[in-house]
Structure formats: C-alpha cells, structure tokens
Amino acid sequence: MIRPLQALCAVFVLLAPLPALAKPATIVKSPGGITAWLVEDHANPMIAVSLLFKGGAATDPEGKVGLATFVSGMLDEGAGEMDSQAFQTRLDDLNIEMGFNASRDSFSGSMTTLAAHRDEAFALLNAALTHPRFDAEPLERMRQAFQTRLRQRSERPNARAAETLFADIFPGHPYGRPTDGTPAGLAAITSADLHAFVKTRFSRDRLVIGVVGDIGASDLATLLDKTFGSLPATSQVPPVPQVKPKLSGGIIPVPMAVPQAAAVFVQEGPARADPDWHAFRVVMYALADGGFSSRLTEEVREKRGLAYGVGAEAAPLAESPLVVGSVGTQTAKIGESLRIIRAEWAKMRDSGPTDDEIAKAKAFLAGSLPLGLNSSPAIAQTLTTLQHFNLPPDELDHRAEVLAAISPETIRAVAKRWLTPERLTFAVAGEIKASDLPQTGK
C-alpha cells in the first residue's frame, strides 16, 4: 500500500531555510585591487570562472546594432600571437570551454578548465579580453553566422512578436533594438568598431568575477592580477537613458504564416533594488511565473487546453524594469487566451494572491534556490549575478527569512500597486484576423 499523501499537502507555516551554497563564498581581493567571489571546492579537479561587465547591447552605437553580440562571438576567434584556428585548437586541446554573451545591460563571459591547465586557461582568457585580433577571415565568417541566426530567428513567431513589441514600446530608445542586431547593423560593423567596443567597455570598474572550484584564494589573487590587471581602471561607456515603456494596452498584429499564433506581452515591473521586488516575485509566481502553480497555467492550459506554454516573469532591465510574458495558441483561439490572461491579470490586481498561494510561492522561491547550484559553472554565474545586482554573498542564505517577513497584506498591496491589466500590451504573430482578437484594454 502507498502511504496516504494528505499530510504532505499541509499549508506551510514555517519555511525551512536551506544552505543555498554548500560552501560559503569568500571575497578575494588581489594585490592589484581586483575583486572576485570564490567558492573553493576541491571535489573535482576543475575550475569555473564567470565574469560580467556592466554595459551591453544597449550601448551599441546607432547604425551598428548588434556590435556587442558581434564582439561576443569574436573574442575566441584569435588573440595575441594566435590566429583563429590556433586559438580554437589550443582551447580544444586543453579542453577549455570559453564563451561570451551580450545582453541589453551587460556583457558576460565564462571559462571552464581542468585545474591542470589553469595557468594557460587564464592566460587565454586574458588574451581574449585584452588582445583580440578581429582578423578579416573570422570577422566575415562570424558576420555570416550572425546574419544566419537573424534569418533563423525570423522564422519563429515568438521571436518576431517580441522584436515587434520592444520596437513599439521603446521607440527611439536602445531597448527597442534587437540585442542580436539587425541585418543592416551587422553589415556595417568593422574591425575598428570591435576594437573600439573592447577598449571602451571592458574596464575594471565595470567588472565582476565569480570563481568556483579547485583553486585557493592566494593562487586566485595572483591569477586575477595577471588576467584582469591590464584592463583600464575606468571606461567611457555611453550612458543608456532611463525610459518609460510606451504601453498602449493594445494588440499589435505581426502577420506570419504559421498554424499556431505566438503572443508576447509586457507591462512595467519593479527594479531588482525596489523594496517591492520580493513581494512582487510572490505575486508573479501565483499569477504567471509558477508553472503549474500559477493561475495562467491553470486557466489557459489545464482547464481549457489552449496552450502548451503560458507564463510571465519579472524582467528587471536596468533602465526600464518590465514584466514579460508569452503564450502560444492555435490561430482560431488565440483571442480566447489573451482574454483570459487579461482577466486573470485584473483579478490578481484586485484581490491579490490568497494566503495559500502566498505560502506556496514563498516556499518555492526560497526552497528552489539550491537547485540552481547544480554545477560549478552555474554557481560561478550565480556569484556574478549577485554582484551585478549589488547583493551580498549571503543573499541566498537569507532569502527564506526575507520572504517570511513579508505579510500577505503587503503582498496584496504590491499586486494592486504594480499590476496594470489595462496597460498590458501584446504583439501577436500569426495568421490572425482582427475578429479573432479581443477588444483592446484602453
């Protein structure tokens, strides 16, 4: 016989805090003044490094949209004395994994190496960051690769809807441009542009570093100076202005011949540093960010079979924090999905989450933290993310207490303050007719 499970359904009254990091992070400061957060772990002879420079694709110059992304693809395509094939062969032979990525607000990198190749791996990382070559051959090859990626992305209704929506709500602002560039922007980028980006963006004052694995603090301190010490102390990154999204509350059609329509929707949200942040995460979990525990999944997917995936989450962009969501429903019924989403949004604003929903959201948001720490690269990335948002090393350890201290009344007030169903603005890609769509919220 299977034991009855009712006991497991009891409402949480107390949260059991879990140690988020099995080992605490220590702050390592090098003689040259470079800081990194380190989780020392000698269980496996490997080291994972994560780094992040504040300032990303939103700083791409006019006419060169896609520059940050282009740089991210070029740093491992030759540096110092090594051309592209020499650099790639060295990475392959030493089994070093190195990669870079640009988002709207930041430029990040990761490197994983066996401890045995530690010094050369950090030297290669230094070369990539400080002496990238940007030779003509890889430049044209990567240009083709990025143009190809744009064409592939344009096949996906979800991507088309998102791109159209951001262009619409951020007219004339860098956030309105696609992070991965435009065909014209990518076509215009030169080797000089790439060098200028590296020179003006990669500086020590904008850099945060996380390291996990088989390395001690003093060895790391030495390597920090060797790897990052030659970066300029400061840089001249063009500022990205704060912006309010232009939210019409309407539905923007994006004509596209696909059997399932994809909708992307957006409204304003709190910044990561906003005092409402944690309460708002609880609200969003109950409304749209909690998978099968969220009302949108319950109403759209579980009760009506209208979608495979539906949800929304806080997207704390530095200059315009948002909430972004998506849903995919067959063309003839997409209007019904949108109506339900708007209605649930209004209901959540008016009444807020129930006490039971709040307890479950808090339990998940605190209890699931260790699950993100299942590999060294994942832990290293968590360390840089915390620094990026100016949070302390023990932030995760206190999450349960922070959540427990927020009263249900506060959370319901936050729902009322932040949710704006009438301003929820949609873009819908598909073969849609106006008659398939609900009236706008205006």
Partner: protein
C-alpha cells in the same frame, strides 16, 4: 517555458545538426534490483543538499500500436492527471510547494519522469512517483483538455518549426517500415483519435516496476535509497510486460532526398542521416568509433568538415556531426549544415560524402585520433561536475536495453580505439544515404 517537454526535438527536430551527447563519464554508481524487478541506480554527490529523482520506463513512441502515434507522449502528460491519492493537477504543485521542480520526457524507446528537490523531500517524491506507477486514475474531461494541450505542443514544436517538419519527413523516408519512422509526438490526425481507454491500457500494459529504472543522484546514500525504494516502489507487484523487439529497418537501396520549403523558411538547412549500429546492436567499440568519427568530422571549429566547408570553401556557415547510439533498435549518425546563401545543397551533399569516403579509404591520422581521444577523455571530469544531466546517461542506457558498463567503461573503450576502428565506422556510412533539404520558397 519548458514544461513537460518531450524529447521530440532532440530526436527529430531542430537539434538534428547538433546531436551527439558524449557519454564519456565514470560516475561510480551503485546498482541493485528490488524483488519485484525494479532496477535502481544511485549516484552519490554531496556537494549540495539536493537530489535528482527519476523513473525511466522502458516504453516509448516506438512501442505504440499502429495508428496510435502520440500515445506514449500523451500518457506522459496524463501521468500528472491524478491518482486516488493525488488529485489531477496536484502532482507538480506538491513538488513546487517543497521548492522542487518536475518534468517528464518521451523518446522513441523510453518515457522518463523527474523531480529535482531538496534531499529531505526524497521520501515524498518517491511515494508520489510510486503512487502514479500503480494507481493512475483519469477523468474524461481532463483527458480531453490534455489531448488539446499536446496538439498545441505539436503546433508549437513541430508545425511552427520548418526544420522539425523536414525532420519528420526525413525520418519517415529513412526508417520506412521501422517504428522509428513515427514522429515521437504523433501525427495530429492520430492524436485526435486517441481515447482515455487507449491511455489507461497503455499504462497498464507497460508501467510496472520490472519495466522501469529508478535513478537517484545527489546528497543521498545507496542504503537510504534502498530502504525508501522498498517501502514505496517495492510494494508494487511485478507485471507481465511485453518483450520489446525493434527489428531491422529496410536498408536504403538508393539515395533518399527530401526537400521541404514553406513561407516561413528564411534560412536554408541541410541534413544527412544514416542508420548505424547502436549500443544494443553492436559491441561498445563500434559506438565509440562513431562518436569519434563524429568529433573528427564535425566536432567544433577544428573538425575536418568545418575546416573544409566553412573555413576554406565557404560553402557553409556552420556544420556539425553526431552519433546517437543509445537505442534499443539501430542508432543513427547525423550531419547537419547551414549552407551559405547560394550554396547548392547537392554540392554540399557530394562534398560531405567525399569526406566520409576519404576516411573510409584512408582512415584518420594518428594525430587526429590522439587529439580527439584526449578531448573525449577529459570531458569526464566536467560530466562529473554536473549533478542533474550527465549521470542520467546511466539510467538512459539501462532503459533502452544497454548496460551500465556501456557508460562506465566508455573511457577504456575510447582509450583503446584505433584508427582502423574509426575507418570501419566510416565504411558503414559510405553508401546510399538520406539527405534533407530545407529551403526558402522561391520568389513568385
């Protein structure tokens, strides 16, 4: 949003170009069998107070009755729709309320369910998973709405994705009479015809402890898992589940060429797939040789095909190759390329055939062999770092009728591989094959 996603794409869709999970790991698992036939695999990892708990059933899309494609995948969804103990829709909520995440996946040969959760909640998820192994209870209304959900899943992941549509047709042409020809998620017309009775009979026929593998990795000991497994899964009686026989597909007698275009194709793609031996149909060294051949031909920017087609001849933007040998039936070897605008796909096909023929004739160099071997061996250390995904290879291997040794001794097999072994693999590819071409519609 990735909820209850099947492995449709992994085996039939966009990732055609980038298959090839390398299984070069040593996880040092503890393996035992309960009296009712349930195989249990435990991998200890005490770095964080979390566990990965999975149940792998030895049944997949290739076991569906004729005319009922999509049944294995629909049942996977319905497993979240309740038992007498846990009402419909509550399973994932109970897991989430303890800070856990859960999901499931369906492939040709297996169906797997998992929870990642704090180690202290392992007893709870084991009780819940055992409960739905034995006591699935479905209601017609939930069945109907979930059937619509899987139809939306098909629209999203296959019908909206031209590369997945091509892959579906390419697989059908390649595998012909073999069950691997069927799309994992099913055909829409057949999904619509599936009934509640179909799902319950499929569950009754295949879901039993002696037809499953329990896999637990993380902050737990084998002793703890054993006693928990005995208290939960151990109480479910053995059942007479069918033997699984995949059979041999008809070998292609001539080249197969499937071309697909649609209004929303904006970028051409090219694929080639060959039916080759698997871990179930050949000695470990054969599969290892295909893994190595995939690395030498298309593993990254220093591979033969990348250097030739992307760097030198500029016919392609990218190219990759990979072997999938974890299968009850035959395995497959896939090469994918993104052609440069203006590249004739038949030229690409001819060049790649010639590159294979060159290895079939002259083999690979000692330097190539050594470089790729070292890379594959070093990958084991990274694999051991990853708690959730890498050690699953052990359970997957058992679920498709292969062995723990196929994973655990992979390093030894790789280390002993010779240039002749790789050449022998290339010889098996050197013949009639299937290519799939995705192209934008010609301007009207």
């Amino acid at each position: 949003m990735r909820r209850r996603m099947s492995l449709c794409l992994l085996l039939s869709g966009a990732s055609l170009a980038l298959a090839a999970p390398a299984h070069a790991k040593v996880f040092d698992p503890t393996v035992f069998t309960l009296e009712n036939g349930l195989t249990v695999v435990v991998v200890e990892n005490h770095r964080a107070p979390i566990v990965s708990h999975m149940v792998w059933y030895k049944v997949g899309a290739a076991d569906e009755p004729a005319g009922k494609t999509g049944l294995a995948h629909l049942l996977e969804h319905l497993m979240f729709k309740g038992t007498p103990e846990i009402p419909a829709g509550q399973f994932s909520k109970l897991v989430a309320a303890k800070g856990g995440v859960d999901n499931a996946m369906t492939s040709r040969d297996f169906t797997a369910y998992y929870q990642h959760i704090a180690a202290e909640n392992l007893p709870m998820v084991m009780r819940m998973e055992a409960d739905r192994m034995a006591h699935l209870k479905l209601d017609e209304k939930d069945f109907q709405s979930e059937r619509e959900v899987v139809r939306e899943e098909r629209r999203q992941r296959v019908e909206n994705e031209p590369a997945a549509m091509l892959s579906e047709r390419l697989n059908m042409a390649l595998w012909m009479n073999h069950p691997y020809a069927r799309p994992i998620g099913g055909f829409d017309s057949e999904i619509q015809g599936l009934t509640l009775i179909d799902a319950l009979s499929f569950h009754k026929r295949w879901y039993a402890p002696n037809n499953a593998v329990l896999f637990v990795a993380g902050d737990v000991t084998p002793g703890q898992v054993k006693s928990l497994a005995e208290e939960t899964f151990g109480r479910i009686p053995r059942a007479a589940t069918p033997d699984r026989v995949r059979g041999e597909p008809e070998a292609p007698q001539a080249d197969i060429r499937i071309a697909f275009s649609a209004p929303n194709v904006h970028q051409a793609r090219w694929y080639r797939t060959d039916i080759v031996p698997s871990c179930a149909t050949a000695a470990p060294k054969v599969g290892a040789a295909f893994d190595m051949l995939g690395e030498i031909l298309g593993g990254g920017t220093t591979s033969r095909l990348y250097r030739q087609l992307v760097l030198e001849e500029k016919l392609a933007v990218s190219v990759g190759a990979g072997y999938d040998g974890t299968a009850l039936g035959p395995g497959s070897f896939t090469i994918g390329a993104t052609p440069m605008p203006g590249t004739d796909p038949d030229v690409l096909d001819a060049k790649i055939s010639a590159a294979i023929a060159a290895i079939a004739k002259d083999g690979v160099t000692a330097a190539e062999l050594a470089r790729v071997r070292d890379r594959m061996l070093a990958a084991r250390i990274y694999a051991r770092d990853d708690l959730f995904s890498a050690p699953q290879a052990l359970a997957e291997s058992l679920a498709v009728g292969c062995t723990i040794a196929d994973v655990e001794t992979f390093n030894d097999v790789i280390a002993a591989l010779t240039a002749d072994d790789v050449k022998a693999a290339a010889i098996l590819l050197d013949g009639p094959h299937a290519q799939g071409i995705l192209s934008p519609e010609a301007a009207p």
